[in-house]
């Protein structure tokens, strides 16, 4: 690999007359007066002119400036950066799937519909829910869909209510999704164990509260042991419980959210079910529900009858459509492949090895890094920079120094209830050897923090760029290339 890559923007290497693509000659008689006289644009101003070689090199060089799961451990807490099986990539692009048109008649798309139905069925089994909708494009989209369902069910029961309770450890998407759905958010404090304070919840739970949004295990990687009591309290006052399934990787085959009293949840296929993150999508955030919610699911719903599949649009109580067509289909194919490969035993092993790996890291780094909450960890553990702070070293310094060791940093500064957080989620696909590389690097950095903090402040030293000026980026936004006059 080349140490220094200076890759200009494609717009800066454009030269008049170059091209990467030739078209076949037009095979119909050419018409002069196209588009009925509407105002046309003179040219695609600013669009580049480059050869195929240049396009290929441009992106290959850019790619080399990225870290990725195929290079090594990517221990971003709450992001579940596991290995993405290669065969699933191939199969998701099978020509009969890739060319399948979403508006083609049902008899032409039986294979695609069966893919969707089978994944729905398997997710119901894994999550303990009665039905799934695969429409949502990502986790936050699933949350929004789920909260719309809750609103619809409560409206049918007499009133949408006003508030949604959310623990102080929750992802930012939770309050945002509740808000878009027309709810006001009330925060519920965590107790000293880092879990929901049941008494505080009991006090906050009134008949004006529509729902509790809970993440389990929560963002500290701790299982909400009182979850059954929690869901009872909410249900007793006529409320509903939404679960953010971002951390399902700790639970697969071990415990089912549906058995804990969860009414609605979303699952991230791009986390738990191994579909690649793609540098920020496409994801897929299927929503699972209990029976009472089924009439309200987004349209269309897939019906199976005697081995053939149909799209059901005739659902008077539906919340409607949440997007075009039927979900991020090729992502859904990958997740189906993953479940089919693993089978029941392999699905359970996801959780077993994810939790084993996280606890191995936690035990190996205890003492070196501060652990605010000592409650047992599930699939991730949250340290802080409290010990290193004494030497003037912050979690940011630690994260950036990890890059010099060839490892992607963990999630930083989240959850908000741990100051200077380092949230580490190894996932089940890391071998002990890779975990040890990470652990050794973290230990070495802890030593450096004491002995040579300066090397941490100025890290990273081995990346293509050093620390970037994010303040200037926000203060004087340059958000696109502009042609020089």
């Amino acid at each position: 690999m080349i140490k220094e890559i200076r890759e200009p923007l494609i717009f800066e290497i454009s030269e008049t007359g170059k091209r990467a693509v030739e078209l076949p000659a037009l095979d119909v008689p050419e018409k002069k007066d196209l588009l009925g006289g509407v105002p046309l644009r003179r040219e695609l101003e600013g669009f580049p002119e480059v050869s195929e070689t240049e396009v290929s090199r441009h992106f290959t060089r850019l790619s080399q400036k990225n870290y990725c799961v195929d290079i090594g451990i990517y221990p971003l807490g709450s992001c579940t950066m596991k290995y993405n099986p290669k065969v699933n990539e191939r199969l998701s692009g099978l020509p009969d799937f890739a060319a399948c048109h979403p508006l083609a008649s049902e008899d032409l798309v039986q294979g695609s519909l069966e893919v969707l139905k089978r994944l729905e069925t398997y997710l119901c089994e894994i999550a303990g829910m009665d039905a799934f909708s695969l429409h949502p494009a990502a986790g936050a989209h699933g949350e929004l869909t789920g909260m719309m369902l809750i609103r619809a069910v409560l409206e049918a029961r007499g009133g949408a209510r006003k508030y949604v309770l959310i623990p102080d450890s929750a992802h930012g998407t939770n309050p945002s999704s509740a808000h878009i759905c027309g709810y006001s958010v009330k925060e519920v404090k965590s107790n000293e164990k880092g879990t929901i304070d049941v008494e505080a919840l009991d006090a906050a739970m009134t008949d004006e509260v529509a729902a509790l949004m809970v993440t389990n295990p929560n963002t500290l990687g701790v299982f909400e042991s009182d979850i059954c009591r929690v869901t009872e309290i909410v249900h007793a006052k006529g409320g509903l419980v939404y679960m953010d399934g971002a951390n399902m990787n700790a639970l697969t085959g071990i415990v089912r959210p549906g058995d804990m009293g969860i009414d609605v949840l979303h699952i991230n296929l791009h986390k738990t079910f191994s579909t690649p993150h793609g540098g920020g999508g496409p994801g897929s955030g299927p929503v699972g529900v209990k029976k009472d919610f089924v009439p309200y699911l987004p349209v269309p719903v897939i019906r199976e009858k005697g081995g053939s599949f149909a799209l059901d649009f005739d659902r008077p109580a539906t919340i409607g459509r949440v997007r075009s067509y039927f979900g991020n289909f090729s992502v859904i194919v990958r997740a189906l492949c993953y479940i089919l490969t693993l089978g029941p035993k392999g699905v359970r092993e996801i959780a077993e090895f994810a939790v084993l790996n996280a606890n191995y890291i936690r035990k190996s780094l205890e003492g070196e890094y501060h652990l605010k909450y000592t409650t047992p960890s599930m699939h991730e553990c949250v340290f802080s920079d409290k010990i290193q702070k004494e030497f003037g070293v912050t979690n940011l310094d630690i994260a950036k120094r990890l890059i010099d060791y060839g490892i992607h940093p963990p999630t930083m500064s989240f959850p908000l209830i741990v100051h200077g957080a380092l949230m580490i989620e190894p996932t089940e696909t890391e071998s002990r050897r890779d975990l040890d590389l990470f652990i050794d690097a973290m230990k070495a950095i802890a030593r450096e923090a004491k002995e040579n903090p300066e090397i941490l402040h100025s890290a990273p030293h081995a990346a293509y760029v050093s620390r970037l000026d994010e303040v200037a980026a926000a203060k004087f936004p340059v958000l696109r290339w502009v042609k020089e006059p």
Partner: protein
């Protein structure tokens, strides 16, 4: 142990010893025993790779029609994709990276997104663009929510009836939970364009925005300039929605036509149709509305040594900072699809995109003429079109469709279920991939079916 959990028995034993528990089950002790699964999950037994290939290939084979000549568009289009696009997408460095929160090790993704934002802004003719939305439909809904932030207190959203029905449905889902907004229809006239006389008479100063398809689901290119000036006169915003962005390589851009926010579905730019997903939502607006824009944004900056670099920026609009006061709840977007669209646009480039667009328009014009000459077929709308047009048939569409299918043709999108007033009408799409021979075959088959 599966192929994806690389632990030997010895690893497991020594890791448990380090942790200080006897078995893996002990690690789950915080989960109440009553909740823990005793029986295994009811899933089919795991498959090996060859078995999985067989299973999926047989599922895919249950889809039919791959060898037919398809004249179906309506928001999902087949275009030629240069091999370089698919080849680069195979790179793990792009595919298996996370959202670029650590810019020092994500410059590849960040610079690509910066280029994507530039293409989006240039294509839509506006100042700034974000890093992508889920799809065109949800981007439309988000654009309306954004308009509400720009013009709080205004309540009426004027939505073109000729906007793609699935986009209209998505907007309704997002907006009907907001008691302060009201959706009203702009009807279309005999030319297939929004009836601006009706709009002009109805627009008041309670109008939030006017939303038009450009081109619309009837294939017709709206007069955005005229609609925008009506909107501006009452202080409302103009939003355009493009399901076929290739059209924008030829027609005047939304921004130049007066749009304040422009969104598009980017599937046409190198993405397989893939049963409708994933696509990618393009989203652009004017600089003065930047802070109200939803979604992630990448910006240019410098590192400690003064070298150019890129970072996620203006995050104070976003949910992970602003929580319930964020401009949107969107987190993960369609990163890899945006990369596809970027590579596609770079490969086609300034001339190539124009030429592909021109061929689409030429072939559609030829097809419209050819089909229009068939007895029992009538062009429904007189307005200008790009690569789709509506035909009214002498027989109901389902019967015609079935007849065409018998001849290896998938003829179009029947409009009647979504638009009862468009009896016996279908939307026919002709892209550069359709040959003259296929178009002629469609004309002959229609003649046969309708006679």
């Amino acid at each position: 142990m599966s192929a994806y959990t690389p632990h030997s028995e010895a690893d497991i034993a020594s890791m448990l010893e380090t942790i200080g528990v006897p078995t893996v089950d002990d690690l789950f002790a915080t989960i109440p025993a009553t909740l823990r699964q005793q029986a295994g999950l009811g899933l089919p037994a795991g498959l090996t790779e060859p078995e999985l290939r067989r299973e999926l290939t047989s599922l895919a084979a249950r889809n039919a029609g791959a060898d037919a000549a398809v004249f179906l568009g309506a928001g999902a289009y087949s275009h030629a994709v240069p091999a370089v696009v698919d080849q680069i997408l195979l790179r793990s460095e792009f595919a298996t990276a996370y959202t670029p929160y650590q810019p020092e090790v994500s410059q590849g993704t960040l610079q690509s997104v910066f280029e994507f934002q530039t293409f989006t802004a240039l294509l839509l003719g506006l100042d700034v663009a974000n890093a992508s939305m889920y799809d065109g439909a949800s981007a439309t809904a988000e654009a309306i929510l954004m308009a509400r932030r720009v013009l709080p207190g205004r309540r009426v959203v004027w939505l073109a009836r000729s906007l793609h029905p699935q986009y209209r449905a998505t907007v309704a889902t997002y907006v009907c939970r907001l008691p302060d907004l009201e959706l009203r229809d702009i009807p279309f006239g005999p030319d297939g364009r929004c009836d601006l006389t009706v709009l002009e008479a109805a627009l008041r100063d309670d109008a939030l925005c006017v939303v038009l398809g450009y081109p619309n689901v009837l294939g017709v290119i709206e007069d955005v300039t005229a609609a925008a000036s009506l909107a501006r006169a009452v202080g409302a915003l103009t939003l355009t929605v493009t399901t076929e962005p290739l059209a924008l390589a030829m027609v005047k851009s939304p921004g130049a036509s007066g749009a304040d926010i422009a969104v598009a579905e980017g599937q046409s730019f190198g993405l397989p149709i893939s049963y409708g997903g994933p696509g990618v939502g393009l989203f652009a607006t004017r600089e003065r509305y930047l802070r109200s824009m939803p979604g992630r944004i990448v910006g240019e900056t410098v590192d400690a040594k003064g070298r150019r670099g890129f970072v996620l920026t203006l995050a104070t609009r976003e949910q992970h900072i602003r929580r319930e006061r964020a401009t949107s709840n969107i987190c993960t977007n369609q990163g890899l699809c945006a990369l596809r669209a970027t590579i596609f646009m770079e490969s086609l480039g300034k001339q190539g995109l124009r030429e592909v667009a021109w061929q689409n328009a030429q072939k559609a014009a030829y097809a419209a003429e050819r089909l229009g000459a068939v007895p029992g077929v009538r062009r429904k709308f007189s307005g200008p079109v790009f690569n789709e047009f509506v035909v009214e048939l002498a027989k109901p569409w389902p019967a015609v469709d079935a007849g065409l299918r018998g001849q290896g043709l998938i003829g179009g999108y029947g409009l009647e279920p979504a638009y009862p007033e468009l009896k016996n009408c279908a939307l026919v799409c002709v892209t550069e991939l359709k040959t003259k021979d296929q178009i002629d075959r469609l004309a002959r088959a229609l003649q046969e079916v309708l006679s």
